[in-house]
């Protein structure tokens, strides 16, 4: 079976985010970019399913400007077989992304779509659920365990208060949570090999999908800064301050 893994290029998780002085957004000039951490987990899971003999092909897809090819190459180096780049210079919201991915699903007919539960830039946590809705597929979000068996997938999900396991009929959408796996690092030979793997570029605008959104960002501001308080000398002093100054215990 084929697995489709959509991935997103985002600001590297180690980079300290700075808001632009004109509040038009976050400063991305000369900032290190990387594959979204949850997407790395998705690639890893798909590659493991291939290594286990369950998947026959892992296809990665990313939507954005030419630069996203860097993350597609990373995914290929991690073990994906081929890549699809939907080129657009527009910054897209989750719904148009999900609509484009639904078109790719229609073309490629994967049995499983595995993707990150959220991107660490927009923090939306929407794309997988929207894709599942648009394609009529079942969804296993926030997965910490994925077991494919006999036309079904059992997904153990991280929920508030514990874990929930659901069974989905394939094809299905799975979104990854942190504990699903620990992604590998790409080895140098695999990085070299990835350069020769197929990467096809298509134009997002050719899919007949409305790429605009009805949501406009009016401004992006820095969060209110929390001031550092005082250092206390002892546990006794701490308890005293909490009782008599902060009055919280």
């Amino acid at each position: 079976m084929k697995i489709l893994v959509p991935v997103k290029r985002v600001i590297d998780f180690n980079v300290k985010v700075r808001v632009k002085p004109d509040q038009s957004g976050v400063d991305l000039a000369n900032v290190k970019m990387a594959m979204n951490p949850f997407c790395e987990i998705a690639v890893e899971e798909a590659v493991r399913l291939k290594e286990a003999g369950i998947a026959s092909e892992v296809i990665v897809v990313s939507i954005g400007p030419a630069a996203v090819q860097e993350q597609l190459r990373t995914a290929l180096a991690l073990g994906a077989d081929r890549a699809i780049h939907l080129q657009t210079e527009q910054s897209l919201d989750s719904l148009p992304i999900a609509k484009l991915l639904a078109k790719v699903v229609a073309e490629e007919q994967p049995q499983l779509v595995i993707l990150g539960k959220q991107a660490i830039d927009s923090d939306n946590n929407q794309t997988g659920q929207m894709l599942a809705a648009l394609t009529g597929m079942g969804q296993g979000t926030f997965a910490s365990k994925v077991v494919v068996n006999d036309g079904k997938v059992q997904v153990t999900r991280e929920i508030d208060g514990g874990l929930q396991t659901v069974e989905l009929t394939l094809p299905a959408v799975v979104s990854t949570d942190l504990r699903l796996n620990e992604p590998r690092y790409a080895s140098l030979p695999n990085i070299m090999k990835a350069k020769k793997k197929p990467l096809e570029t298509k134009q997002a605008a050719d899919y007949g999908v409305t790429l605009t959104s009805n949501v406009t960002t009016l401004k992006v501001a820095a969060p209110p800064v929390r001031k550092a308080g005082v250092k206390v000398e002892s546990v006794a002093q701490l308890v005293d301050k909490l009782k008599h100054e902060a009055k919280v215990i």
Partner: protein
């Protein structure tokens, strides 16, 4: 037009988050309907009817909604919204709400606005992005605004209302998903997102066994116990204890961070707490930059001492 709010519950108890989302709904408009979808959950509907400001409670009591499967709940909500009766559809940004609501948005062909922390006007909302390192103000011209609400950013409404409970007989089963099992962490302590006091441990605790050091203190303060992502990644404790961008967002009266360095992703989950205490042996730990009270000490001596003094 009315606002539809989907309740969070476990078929017995209405979750505190719903009363907080209601505050956000009241900042948008005044005709607010609450949907309680589940199985044998009439008592939840009756609890919802008591929340101040609710005009109608819709009760969808059916086996297909027992486990809040996203496919079925989304189909129900979409059906309720199809006659354009609702200008806004809201729910809490819990793992339940985050699961089904984007599905609703896609089925209605509108955007979802995730995790709002303030309502500026009926079409303009404030939400954190980049793990709370930036705060975006967004405006929507969609006919229906589909929104998840960060409950910890809003106070709960009062109770004492007596809204009518109406039964909805729409049964939607997608047939593509099935509940298998659930393993809930059993705890006598309050839930992380609802607790007045939270005490969290990080990698400094060194192993899962040492989280016991937090328990005595948590008992005395009636606190919930949380953890940093580092402690979860290291396998000390389960992920449902994680506080941070990728875990739970909390805003208690008192947050005590023990052996937590204060990575950005952790701070994103707790920096709206009223009072923050940090205990760490490294005086340079970034957590001290947000702590109201910092104690530079070895946690293995400080924690027993703290427990004794409470």
């Amino acid at each position: 037009m009315a606002i539809l709010l989907i309740a969070d519950h476990d078929n017995k108890q209405l979750k505190a988050e719903t009363g907080k989302v209601l505050t956000a709904a009241q900042a948008i408009g005044s005709d607010i309907h609450i949907l309680v979808a589940g199985l044998q959950c009439r008592s939840v509907a009756e609890q919802a009817a008591q929340l101040s400001g609710v005009t109608r409670v819709l009760l969808a009591d059916d086996t297909v909604y027992q486990h809040q499967l996203a496919e079925n709940i989304a189909a129900l909500v979409t059906e309720l919204a199809k006659n354009n009766e609702y200008s806004h559809i809201l729910t809490a940004a819990t793992t339940t709400g985050k699961n089904f609501l984007p599905r609703v948005a896609a089925l209605l062909d509108v955007a979802q606005i995730s995790d709002i922390i303030a309502v500026e006007s009926p079409d303009t909302f404030v939400r954190p992005v980049y793990a709370g390192n930036a705060i975006a103000t967004v405006q929507s011209t969609d006919a229906v605004k589909v929104i998840t609400v960060r409950a910890s950013a809003f106070a709960a409404v009062a109770t004492g209302n007596t809204a009518t409970v109406e039964t909805v007989t729409i049964s939607k089963d997608s047939g593509v998903s099935r509940f298998i099992s659930e393993e809930l962490t059993k705890s006598e302590r309050p839930e992380l997102t609802a607790a007045r006091v939270v005490i969290s441990g990080g990698r400094g605790l060194q192993n899962g066994e040492n989280f016991k050091l937090l328990e005595g203190i948590a008992d005395k303060l009636n606190a919930a116990i949380g953890a940093s992502r580092a402690a979860v990644d290291a396998g000390f404790v389960p992920n449902d204890m994680q506080v941070g961008q990728t875990g739970k967002i909390v805003a208690p009266e008192l947050y005590i961070a023990v052996g937590i360095s204060g990575a950005i992703q952790h701070l994103a989950g707790m920096k709206d707490s009223k009072v923050i205490v940090a205990i760490n042996k490294d005086p340079e730990a970034p957590v001290f930059q947000v702590a109201d009270y910092g104690l530079v000490a070895d946690l293995f001596t400080a924690l027993p001492e703290l427990e004794a003094l409470l």
